[in-house]
Structure formats: structure tokens, C-alpha cells
């Protein structure tokens, strides 16, 4: 994938936005363990950043996925992982299915304000008893007249304490686990929705994460996305964007690598710069090599996504690799910062804590391996 001038211009404007509207506040948001999603997203919506590859009819730019990828990659400039993650929920995790399969009415009611930045959304898949095991979720939406009445618990919900609506995966019938699920837009102010607790995490502090409780929550059936029973399929498709979003955070690794080069170049020990140690510049070259391989893999997947191919396997591979490589890069770089890297406020220490989520959230490494094996035709039938 070779970016055009248009891609580069988009990235420039995103980066400028980050420098003025995000990075100056990151330390404060990290300390608060939350960022003001409504205020920030409104500004992003005004700038057009929240609907780059969404249909123009609903306020989007109507560009192809390569532009969305360019946007996501630019988010690597943000000096934390939490804010980009919440942005990703808004653009690539909770809304692709809605944009693709939602009715016109539903898209006007939920997608338009989300793209405009007037509403903050969450994605509700994981549950306390079913983290990576999507098929085994327990939340149930029974039909009552024209409504769904929803009961269940959702876990690890990004922006869960401040979002306006959630794209919720629920069982709408008994029967085969892959055919009994439905995606529903649920307003968070609905009666019966409560935040069971705000979770304290190792990293990703600027992003609020919640456990949500749904107790006989009533929403009209027209809030359903697409067809009933197709929720699992839609969500699997939506996971492609989610995983590519995660993998596109290679740019954050690259940023830390650059910062590490600058620091080790300046810092002196034993009569030379730290960077002049052969093990340092060799190790950084190794890490850069792997980052480039990940970048190439992401771009390859994006190229094929734009060409209309199913990139589930490639996206899962890229997601697996960003989690593992992320830990390696964070660890390797922090090591060269020494004590200065271990202090709380350093960017590299933040990446170290934030990136650990990549191998857990959005489907753990082991889940990715299962998916890849399935696409390779090597997964045993019963497993």
C-alpha cells in the first residue's frame, strides 16, 4: 500500500489535532483514570475524523478503508494507549456493523450523532464468564411486544462509565451458538442499565473501563442491527476492523523507538552515548525490522480489505503480532532508558503498561491462534 498525498495530508491534520487537543492533556487524563470523551469527540467529529470510511449519507467522508488506516496509524502520536483505544471503539469496533447493516432509521438515530461526535459509544461483547469465548455469552434479549427486554452482565467495557449507547451482542433465542445472537443498539440511559464497577487497570488509565449490568432493560426491536440471529456473523466481520485497529498501533511502537533513539543518543555512560553500544543499536535495528514486518502485514491486509477480500486471517495474524511485538518493543526500549524509563510519567513506561492489553483485549493471543489455525484448516473439529 503506497499512501497518496491525500493520505498524507489526512495524517498531517490528525497529527496536528493530536498535538494541540490531546497530548497536552494526556498526563492529566491518565491521573484522572478517565478522559472527557464527549468534549474530545465533539472536536474530532467537527474535524471529520470519526467517519472517514463511513457513508457520506450519515455524515461520513465515504472514503475507502485505506484512509481510515491512515487515520488510525496517525493516532500512534498520542502519548498513551487509552485515548486511541476509545477512539477506536467509536470508529472501528462499535460502528462498522451498524454502518454496514443497520436500517436507514437506525443509522440516522445512532450512527449520525456518533460520527458527529455528539454521542459516545461502547461495544458490548465480553462478559465475566466469557472473555474471549464469544459464542458462550449469556446476556439474553427476550422479545416482549415490539421490544427486547435485556438481562445480563458485560465486562471490560471501554468508555463504559460515560458512553451514550452500546452496540450490544445478546442471545435472542436458544439454539446454535452461532445463529442465536443479535446486535442491538442500547442507549445507556435506558432504565435498568447500571455501571456495576469502574475497573482499575495495569495500564490504559486514561480510558475508563466498566463492568455493566443490564436488568430487564427494555428497548424497541427496531434498535436491532440488521437481521435477528446474524449478530455473531456481523460481530466476526466487525472484528476484522477491530483487529486491524489494534495492529495499526505499530505506529506507537515506532514512536517509542524513535524516542528511545533520541534519548540513548543524548545520554552518556562509561564515556560514550548509550546508543553507541553495539548491543543497543543492534537491538533497536532488530526491533525496527519486526515493526516494519508488522507494518507491511497491516498494509497487506488493508490492501486486500479494500479489494474486497476476507482478511480475517491476516487481521488476526497482525493482531497477534502487535501484542507480542508490542511487549518486546516496550520491554526492549524501557531497558535502555534504565531508571528514567521506570518512572511513572515516562512515555515508555506508559507504553509498557498499556500495550500489555493488546495480547488480552479484543481476543487474546490464544483466540487469535485458534482463528488462524481454523483458517489454515488445522484446528481439530471438536476443540
Amino acid at each position: 500500500m503506497l499512501y497518496t498525498q491525500e493520505h498524507q495530508e489526512l495524517q498531517r491534520s490528525v497529527k496536528k489535532f493530536i498535538e494541540t487537543e490531546i497530548n497536552p492533556h494526556v498526563d492529566e487524563w491518565e491521573d484522572a483514570e478517565i478522559f472527557p470523551a464527549h468534549a474530545l469527540f465533539k472536536k474530532m467529529g467537527d474535524a471529520g475524523f470519526l467517519g472517514i470510511n463511513k457513508p457520506q449519507a450519515y455524515g461520513g467522508m465515504g472514503l475507502d478503508y485505506s484512509f481510515q488506516l491512515a487515520f488510525v496509524e496517525a493516532l500512534g502520536d498520542v502519548r498513551c494507549g487509552g485515548v486511541p483505544m476509545a477512539i477506536g471503539v467509536q470508529t472501528d469496533m462499535a460502528t462498522p456493523a451498524l454502518a454496514r447493516f443497520g436500517s436507514d432509521e437506525l443509522r440516522r438515530e445512532f450512527l449520525v450523532p456518533t460520527i458527529a461526535g455528539d454521542r459516545v459509544c461502547s461495544i458490548g461483547v465480553s462478559e465475566p464468564g466469557a472473555g474471549s469465548d464469544v459464542a458462550s455469552i449469556k446476556t439474553f434479549a427476550r422479545k416482549d411486544g415490539d421490544d427486547y427486554v435485556i438481562t445480563g452482565t458485560k465486562m471490560w467495557i471501554t468508555s463504559g462509565t460515560q458512553s451514550d449507547w452500546i452496540c450490544l451482542l445478546a442471545n435472542t433465542s436458544e439454539g446454535a451458538a452461532h445463529k442465536n445472537k443479535t446486535l442491538i443498539c442500547v442507549p445507556m440511559k435506558s432504565k435498568g442499565v447500571s455501571v456495576a464497577k469502574k475497573l482499575k487497570k495495569l495500564g490504559m488509565w486514561s480510558s475508563d473501563t466498566a463492568q455493566l449490568y443490564f436488568d430487564e432493560v427494555r428497548v424497541p426491536q427496531r434498535y436491532r442491527i440488521g437481521e435477528e440471529g446474524m449478530g455473531f456473523t456481523y460481530q466476526m466481520q466487525q472484528f476484522q476492523e477491530e483487529r486491524l485497529f489494534a495492529a495499526a498501533q505499530w505506529t506507537a511502537l515506532d514512536r517509542i523507538l524513535r524516542e528511545t533513539i533520541a534519548y540513548t543518543k543524548e545520554r552518556q555512560a562509561f564515556g560514550q552515548s548509550i546508543l553507541d553500544n553495539q548491543y543497543v543499536h543492534f537491538r533497536l535495528a532488530e526491533l525496527k525490522t519486526e515493526i516494519e514486518a508488522l507494518r507491511a502485514l497491516v498494509h497487506d491486509a488493508a490492501t486486500k480489505l479494500v479489494a474486497g477480500e476476507d482478511v480475517t486471517m491476516l487481521a488476526s495474524m497482525a493482531k497477534l503480532k502487535v501484542g507480542r511485538l508490542g511487549r518486546e518493543v516496550a520491554d526492549g526500549c524501557l531497558q535502555f532508558w534504565g531508571g528514567m524509563g521506570y518512572v511513572w510519567e515516562s512515555n515508555v513506561s506508559r507504553l509498557f503498561r498499556d500495550i500489555r492489553l493488546s495480547s488480552i483485549g479484543g481476543g487474546a493471543d490464544e483466540v487469535m491462534l485458534g482463528i488462524i489455525a481454523k483458517y489454515m484448516g488445522t484446528l481439530p473439529r471438536k476443540a
Partner: protein, 382 residues
């Protein structure tokens, strides 16, 4: 679950001591570890409790209230403290194990009698202050100066990343009394209330319960009798102290790795996914075996090292490598445990989450991995 301690190294007395330390950790530390971490400190009374249990005096001379002991007692102590998974508490509680040895080795009887007994009784806190903001591991470059002025030294400069740096009563501070290089370095015992001596807190990725500080000396007058050893002779003291610290760090990293293994096994037994407990998944079982294998190898390496130290060898390269090896084992086990615990492993208040944030301090403190490789290469004649 793990093999028992090798009877060729561990006596019944060692075993009894291990039980004592473990009980102390389980009663006095573990129940509070998460809370103290979030609070950024632990009650000062813990020092006296540890002293009363006989933990602070291990390996120190009897004349100062200590209990001479072979290296295996020190290993056991560090390992069991490491099992608490509260490296911050352990680091500050045991900071005298790096703060006092230079005094024992080089301090005058008068100075030692003033400093050591109170520390071993848990009434006073001891810290070591060598690292500087601009010098890192490069001791020979340190820039804090101590100029002789009558019967005192006048100290100016800063120290960085000092464990127990906020609360300590006595600081063994490396200072430059002479010309450039290693030969100009001396050690001074400095009291906390010395005028011109201030401290500022450092926030760290882990070890939250530990009071780590930057120290500032601004025309501090320190009595010349507080000199530890002869002037300009501190470099070997500091290096020897590093070796002792590395052994302790290796053992506590090994203990932390065991804590990760225990929590991972317990979780894997309890947690069900895809219709069966996690531990029924082959890759999980293999990962647990990988953890055990690394822990066993590290433990064997440390036991080997301790028995050599007891036999009077000075295996500097092996000590450096053991510290590196143990830190890598801890890293592997912390990462594996967080992965097995999944989302729960990412939540604060969970032991493996805390240990994950404590990995890097083990790979940096007491000599970064690469510095230790350089050291080992020189020692091995490469």
C-alpha cells in the same frame, strides 16, 4: 507442586527459618499488599515486627544485634519476601541489606555502634545512595562532592532512585572526596536531619509501596567521623555490596516467579473457557511446565551460587549471570501469568498484575542486564 529444597543444601534449620519467613509474609504482608501499593507505602511499624521475628538481623554480626547466617538464610529470606509479590514493600523493608554492609565492612566501631543496632531493631531505617541523575550505573563518574572542611565534610549533589529514600534515618552515600575516577570515591553515613539534606518522591511504574526518592544535598555538613572506611577506598566496598545485592535480587526474582506460577496454576484450575478448565488446554499446561522449568533452573543456579559463596569463592561473573537469569525467569513467568489470567491479570489488586509492573526494576536495578553482561564478559576474560 515444586520440588522440595535440595537436602544437600538445606538443613532442618533452614526449613524452619523458611516457615517463619513465609508465615510472616502471609500474615503481615500479603493481606495488605494491594492496599499498601495503592496507598504508596506501608506502616513504619512493619520494620519492628520484622525485627521481632528475627528477619532484619539475618547475616549481620551479633555485636550489633544481628544473627550470623550462611548464604542460604539470606536466599530464603529474599525468596520468601519475593513470593509476597509486593516487591515495593520488600525493597523498603529490607533496604538495610544494601545500606548496612558497607558499614559492617568499613565503618568504625563507634559509627557502627551508633547506626546498626537501631536499624536491626527496626527502630531506624537504612538506605544506600549511590546512583545519580546523570551517572546511572557508572559509579566512577559520580558527581556528588564532599569537601573536607575542618572536622566535617561539606556535601553537594543529588542521588537518584534511592530505595527507602523518603523515610530512611541513615544514608550510606557515595561521594567524591578526591579526583576523577573510581579512586576519588568515598562513602559517608548521613543522618536524615542534616541541614541542607532534602528528599523528593519519585513515582514509579511498580514498587508503589516503596518510598523511592531523589536526594538533594545542599552544603550539608557531615562529621568526618561518619566516613565509612578510608577516604578514596569506597569503590571496592560499593562493588562488593553490588554483588550481595545481586544475589538478593536474584532470589527475590525467583520468589516472585514462583508467586506467578502459583497464581497461574490456581486460576487455570478454576477458570473455565470453551467448556473446560483452562488447565485442560495443552498449551496452558505446557506454559506452566515452561514456568516450572525456568524456575527450577534458576533456583538450582542460585543454590549453586550460595554454596560457592559459603565455600569462600567470589564468583562475580556467576552472580551477575544469576541475577540476569532470575530476572528473565521472573519476566517470563509474570508475562505468562498475566496472559493466563487474561483480563483479570490486567486488573490492579491482583498479585500478578503487581509483579508484572515490578519486572523491569529487577532488570534495571542493581546493574542493568547489559551492564552485567559487560561485567561478566570482562570477568570471564572475553
Amino acid at each position: 507442586m515444586l520440588t522440595q529444597p535440595n537436602p544437600r543444601h538445606y538443613s532442618a534449620d533452614h526449613t524452619a527459618f523458611r516457615a517463619t519467613v513465609r508465615r510472616f509474609v502471609e500474615r503481615e504482608i500479603l493481606p495488605h499488599a494491594a492496599e499498601w501499593d495503592e496507598a504508596g507505602g506501608f506502616p513504619r511499624g512493619l520494620y519492628e515486627k520484622a525485627a521481632a521475628t528475627g528477619l532484619l538481623g539475618v547475616g549481620f554480626p551479633e555485636e550489633y544485634g544481628g544473627t550470623p547466617a550462611d548464604h542460604f538464610y539470606r536466599l530464603i529470606l529474599a525468596e520468601e519476601m519475593g513470593r509476597s509479590g509486593s516487591g515495593g514493600t520488600a525493597a523498603s523493608l529490607m533496604s538495610h541489606t544494601i545500606g548496612l554492609p558497607p558499614l559492617v565492612a568499613g565503618g568504625s566501631a563507634e559509627l557502627n555502634a551508633r547506626v546498626i543496632p537501631g536499624v536491626l531493631a527496626g527502630e531506624k531505617i537504612s538506605a544506600l545512595a549511590v546512583t545519580e541523575p546523570g551517572a546511572g550505573s557508572d559509579v566512577a563518574q559520580l558527581a556528588t562532592t564532599a569537601k573536607r572542611d575542618g572536622d566535617a565534610y561539606v556535601v553537594n549533589g543529588s542521588k537518584m532512585f534511592i530505595t527507602s529514600g523518603l523515610r530512611a534515618d541513615w544514608y550510606a552515600v557515595a561521594v567524591r572526596t578526591g579526583g576523577p575516577g573510581a579512586a576519588g570515591v568515598s562513602l559517608l553515613a548521613i543522618e536524615r536531619d542534616t541541614p541542607g539534606f532534602t528528599r523528593s518522591e519519585l513515582k514509579k511504574m511498580g514498587w508503589w509501596a516503596s518510598d523511592t526518592a531523589e536526594l538533594h544535598f545542599d552544603d550539608c555538613r557531615v562529621p568526618a567521623t561518619n566516613l565509612i572506611g578510608a577516604e578514596g577506598q569506597a569503590f571496592p566496598l560499593i562493588m562488593r555490596n553490588f554483588n550481595g545485592e545481586r544475589l538478593t535480587l536474584a532470589a527475590s526474582a525467583c520468589g516472585a516467579a514462583q508467586a506467578c506460577l502459583e497464581d497461574a496454576v490456581a486460576w487455570a484450575r478454576e477458570r473455565k473457557t470453551f467448556g473446560q478448565p483452562l488447565i485442560a488446554h495443552q498449551v496452558i499446561r505446557h506454559k506452566l511446565v515452561d514456568m516450572v522449568e525456568r524456575i527450577e533452573a534458576t533456583r538450582a543456579l542460585i543454590d549453586d551460587l550460595a554454596s560457592r559463596l559459603d565455600a569462600g569463592e567470589q564468583p562475580v561473573a556467576q552472580t551477575a549471570m544469576a541475577k540476569n537469569h532470575a530476572a528473565r525467569t521472573m519476566q517470563f513467568c509474570a508475562d505468562a501469568a498475566v496472559q493466563i489470567l487474561g483480563g483479570s491479570g490486567y486488573m490492579r489488586g491482583v498479585r500478578v498484575e503487581r509483579i508484572y509492573r515490578e519486572v523491569k526494576v529487577m532488570m534495571i536495578g542493581g546493574g542493568a542486564e547489559e551492564i552485567l553482561k559487560d561485567l561478566a564478559a570482562r570477568q570471564l576474560g572475553f
